[in-house]
C-alpha cells in the first residue's frame, strides 16, 4: 500500500478550514455507538434543535457552537453509519448531506469524523470514504479514557500522518480533549500535521479491503486494541444469565410500569388541579367578555390542559428509556425479548416501544426510532395505539363502574387483553402482507455497559418536552378550538351557547345526523357527540358526557353513572368499551405518526383500519351482549 511520499495517488490536498466570513456548517459523522450525540451535546449544550429532512423519516439535530470572539458555527449531527454506501435511508441522508446533494442544507464546510478508539480497527473503515470526500476533516478518537483504562494505545500524531488529517484523542463523556475540537472549529489547527496522506485510500468500496486498509493504518500508528471490557463481561454474566436474565428483565419491566403509573400520578393530579384552579380562579376572572372567557377557559385550557397533564408521565418514561439505552441494558432487553416478539412477526427492539404504549402511544411511537429495520418500525408504530394507554382509563373506569360494578377487575383486565390481542394479530397480518420482510434482519450490536450521564439524560428530556409541548401548542390547540366553536354555535343573544345546551349546537345537530350510523352499535346521539370530542383525547368524552347530562363530568361521578345507566343498554355500554379499546381516538397519535413516518399515508391507513376494526367489534359486542342481558 501507499507507503511512499511522492506517490501522486496518495495525495489529497485538504485546504485549511476557512472559518472567517459567513456561518460555517460542520457535519458530525460516525458509526452508531461512537459517541456522536455525546460530542454534539458537549459542543452545543442547549443551543440545539431536532429537525426532520422533508420526505424522509430520518431526523438530524442542528446546533450552534460558540467560538471565541463572538463567532459561531453550525454543527449537524447526522445519523450513525458504518459506510457511505447509500443503501439504507440513514446512509443516503448522510451521503447526500456530505456530498452537498441535500437541498435543504448547503454542503458542509468541514467534517468531524468521530470513531470509537476502543474499536478503532473496525471504525477506521469509515475514515476511507469520508476522507476521500476531500473536505477538511478532524478525526476524533473518542472514549480515550476507556482505551487507556483497558491498556490500549494509539499514536495519534502518527495516525494523522498516515491519514493526512488532524487527529484528536478525546473523551466526549468526560470532556477531555474537547478543546482540540473547538480549536479545529476555530480554524487554528492548520499547521499541525502535514496535509498529505501517507497511506493511499482504498478506491473500491469493498468491505474486506477497506477493513485490511484500516488494520494497516492502525498498526502503522501503533494501535494496540484494549483488553476486553471486564465489567461488561461480568455484568452480562448476570443480565444474560439463563435464569436471572429473564427474571431481572421482568423486574425492570414491572418497575418501569409501576413508576410510570403510580409515580407520575400525584404529579399529574397536582397539574390537573393547578390547571383547573388557574382557569377558574384567575384566568376566568381576568377576562370580561363571556365568549372569550368560555373559549379560553372551557375550550383552550381544558382541551390543551387535558393533554399537557400527561407530560410528567411522558418525561418519566423517557427518563427510563434514556437510562436503559445509555447504560447499554436496552440492547440486552431486546435480545431477551426477541424470541417472543418474533412469534408475532416483530423483533426484540419493538419491545420497549410497545411497553411504553401502555402509558401513552405518543412517546411510544417516538421511541420506535431505535428500530433500524424500517418495516419493523412501521409495524410497531401501527400497532402501538392498540395497547391500553392511560388516557383510556378514565373512560373505562366510568363505564365499568356504571354497568359492570360486580366484576371491575375482570372487565378491566379483559379490555387490556383484547387490546393486546388486537395488536399482535394486526402485527402478524401486517408482517405477512404489506410489511413482509426477511426474518433474518435482526442484527444487534451489544454496546459495553456505561454510566448514563446527567447531561445527556437531561438534554434528552428537554428535547422530548419541546416536541410534546410544541404539538400541544399547535395541533391539539387547534382541535380544542374547533371543538369549542362547534359546541358553542349558533350564538344565543350574541353569546356562545352555555355548555348545558350542547344539543342545540352545531355539534349537537351533527350528533343527531350521525345517530343512524352509530345506532347499530347501541349508541345514541349523546354518545356520538362524546365520540367526536374524544378525537382530541380519549378521556375528553367523560367531561363531554358530564356536560350533556348536566352532571359532574368525572369518572367517579355517581350522577353521571346513574344517567348513563338509564340511557344506554348493557350491550351499548359493552360496545362503547370495546370501541374505545380499538379506535384511534387520538389526534396527538395521528400527528406523531404523520411526523415519524414522513407523510399522511400510514396515519390515514391506521386511522381507517382501527376505526373499521372498532366499529365491527362494537357492533358484534352490542348484538352478542344484547342476546344475553336485557
Amino acid at each position: 500500500m501507499g507507503d511512499c511520499h511522492g506517490c501522486p495517488a496518495a495525495t489529497i490536498t485538504i485546504p485549511p478550514p476557512p472559518f472567517q466570513t459567513r456561518r460555517q456548517i460542520v457535519a458530525i459523522v460516525g458509526p452508531p455507538n461512537s459517541g456522536k450525540s455525546t460530542l454534539f451535546n458537549r459542543l452545543t449544550g442547549l443551543r440545539q434543535k431536532v429537525a426532520n429532512f422533508p420526505g424522509v423519516t430520518v431526523e438530524h439535530r442542528m446546533g450552534r457552537v460558540k467560538l471565541e470572539g463572538d463567532r459561531e458555527v453550525f454543527v449537524v449531527d447526522l445519523p450513525g453509519v458504518y459506510s457511505l454506501n447509500p443503501r439504507s435511508e440513514d446512509e443516503r441522508v448522510t451521503h447526500d448531506v456530505l456530498t452537498g446533494q441535500m437541498k435543504e442544507l448547503p454542503k458542509p464546510d468541514a467534517v468531524l469524523l468521530i470513531l470509537d478508539s476502543t474499536n478503532l480497527s473496525r471504525h477506521l473503515v469509515l475514515a476511507a470514504p469520508v476522507l476521500s470526500l476531500g473536505l477538511p476533516t478532524l478525526v476524533i478518537l473518542n472514549m480515550a479514557d476507556d482505551l487507556a483504562g483497558r491498556g490500549g494505545e494509539i499514536d495519534s500524531a502518527e495516525l494523522a500522518m498516515q491519514l493526512g488529517a488532524p487527529v484528536a484523542l478525546v473523551s466526549a463523556a468526560k470532556g477531555e480533549g474537547v478543546d482540540k475540537v473547538f480549536q479545529f472549529l476555530a480554524g487554528t489547527t492548520q499547521g499541525a500535521p502535514k496535509q498529505k496522506a501517507m497511506m493511499e485510500l482504498p478506491v473500491i468500496q469493498d468491505i474486506p479491503k477497506c477493513r485490511a486498509w484500516a488494520s494497516s493504518a492502525g498498526s502503522k500508528a501503533g494501535y494496540h486494541a484494549p483488553a476486553p471490557p471486564l465489567w461488561t463481561r461480568r455484568l452480562d454474566r448476570i443480565f444474560l444469565h439463563p435464569l436471572f436474565g429473564p427474571l431481572i428483565f421482568v423486574l425492570v419491566v414491572i418497575g418501569v410500569f409501576e413508576t410510570i403509573f403510580s409515580g407520575a400520578k400525584p404529579i399529574m393530579d397536582a397539574m390537573q388541579d393547578a390547571i383547573q384552579t388557574l382557569g377558574d380562579q384567575y384566568v376566568a376572572k381576568m377576562i370580561g367578555n363571556d365568549a372569550l372567557r368560555s373559549l379560553i377557559v372551557g375550550g383552550v385550557m381544558k382541551g390543551v390542559g387535558s393533554v399537557v397533564v400527561f407530560l410528567p408521565q411522558i418525561l418519566l418514561l423517557f427518563l427510563f428509556i434514556g437510562i436503559l439505552e445509555d447504560s447499554g441494558y436496552l440492547a440486552r432487553a431486546a435480545l431477551i425479548a426477541d424470541r417472543t416478539m418474533a412469534k408475532f412477526g416483530l423483533q426484540g427492539k419493538s419491545f420497549i416501544p410497545l411497553l411504553s404504549a401502555y402509558a401513552c402511544a405518543v412517546p411510544a411511537i417516538m421511541a420506535t426510532r431505535t428500530i433500524e429495520n424500517k418495516r419493523d418500525r412501521i409495524a410497531t408504530i401501527l400497532i402501538a395505539p392498540f395497547m391500553t394507554c392511560s388516557a383510556r382509563l378514565p373512560v373505562y373506569t366510568l363505564l365499568i363502574a356504571a354497568f359492570f360494578p360486580e366484576h371491575p377487575v375482570a372487565a378491566l383486565l379483559g379490555l387490556y387483553i383484547i387490546g393486546f390481542l388486537a395488536a399482535i394479530s394486526t402485527a402478524r397480518l401486517l408482517k405477512s402482507t404489506v410489511l413482509k420482510s426477511s426474518r433474518s434482519s435482526f442484527m444487534l450490536e451489544m454496546p459495553p455497559y456505561r454510566w448514563p450521564t446527567f447531561r445527556s439524560l437531561g438534554l434528552r428530556l428537554v428535547d422530548r418536552s419541546k416536541v410534546f409541548l410544541r404539538r400541544a401548542g399547535t395541533v391539539i390547540l387547534g382541535v380544542a378550538v374547533v371543538i369549542w366553536v362547534l359546541g358553542s354555535l349558533p350564538l344565543e343573544h350574541g353569546k356562545p351557547l352555555p355548555p348545558e345546551k350542547i344539543q342545540e349546537s352545531v355539534m349537537g345537530k351533527v350528533g343527531h345526523v350521525a345517530e343512524p350510523a352509530i345506532r347499530p352499535l347501541g349508541f345514541n346521539w349523546k354518545i356520538g357527540i362524546g365520540l367526536m370530542t374524544s378525537l382530541a383525547a380519549r378521556e375528553v368524552i367523560v367531561g363531554t358526557l358530564g356536560t350533556i347530562y348536566g352532571m359532574e363530568g368525572t369518572s367517579q361521578s355517581a350522577g353521571l353513572q346513574q344517567a348513563l345507566r338509564q340511557d344506554l343498554t348493557p350491550g351499548g355500554a359493552a360496545a362503547l368499551l370495546v370501541f374505545f379499546a380499538f379506535a384511534m381516538q387520538c389526534m396527538s397519535t395521528i400527528a406523531v405518526v404523520r411526523r415519524e413516518t414522513g407523510g399522511w399515508k400510514w396515519p390515514a391507513l391506521q386511522f381507517a383500519y382501527m376505526t373499521v376494526f372498532a366499529y365491527v367489534a362494537a357492533f358484534a359486542t352490542n348484538h352478542i351482549v344484547s342476546q344475553f342481558v336485557h
Partner: protein, 105 residues
C-alpha cells in the same frame, strides 16, 4: 379432468425430485462447511463466507463478520436464540437462522 390430475401429480413429482436434490446439496455443504451455530460457546472459528443476500451480508461485514476473521459465540437469550457473537472487537447478536448461513473454514 384427467389431464388436470396428471399435471398435478407431475408437479408433485417434480417438486419432490427437486426437494431431494436440494437435500443432497445441503447434505454436501454440511459435510464440507460448518456454520456458526455448530461452534460451542467460547470456541473460536474462522469465518469463510456469508451465504446471505447481499444487503444482509454487507451489513454483517460492517459489523465485523468479515471472511478470515475469528468469531466466538458468547451469551444468548434464554433458549439459545438469538446468540451474541464476539467478532472483531465487538459483540453482535444474531438469530439462529442468520448464524446458520455464516459458514466457517
Amino acid at each position: 379432468m384427467t389431464w388436470k390430475a396428471n399435471y398435478w401429480t407431475l408437479g408433485i413429482e417434480l417438486q419432490m425430485s427437486f426437494k431431494k436434490r436440494a437435500a443432497r446439496i445441503s447434505d454436501k455443504t454440511k459435510r464440507v462447511a460448518r456454520n456458526l451455530t455448530e461452534l460451542k460457546r467460547g470456541e473460536s472459528g474462522i469465518l469463510d463466507r456469508l451465504d446471505l443476500p447481499e444487503d444482509d451480508a454487507r451489513r454483517l461485514m460492517e459489523l465485523g463478520f468479515i471472511p478470515g476473521h475469528a468469531v466466538i459465540p458468547a451469551h444468548s437469550a434464554p433458549g439459545g436464540d438469538p446468540r451474541v457473537f464476539r467478532v472483531d472487537g465487538s459483540e453482535v447478536a444474531l438469530r439462529r437462522e442468520t448464524a446458520m448461513r455464516l459458514l466457517l473454514r
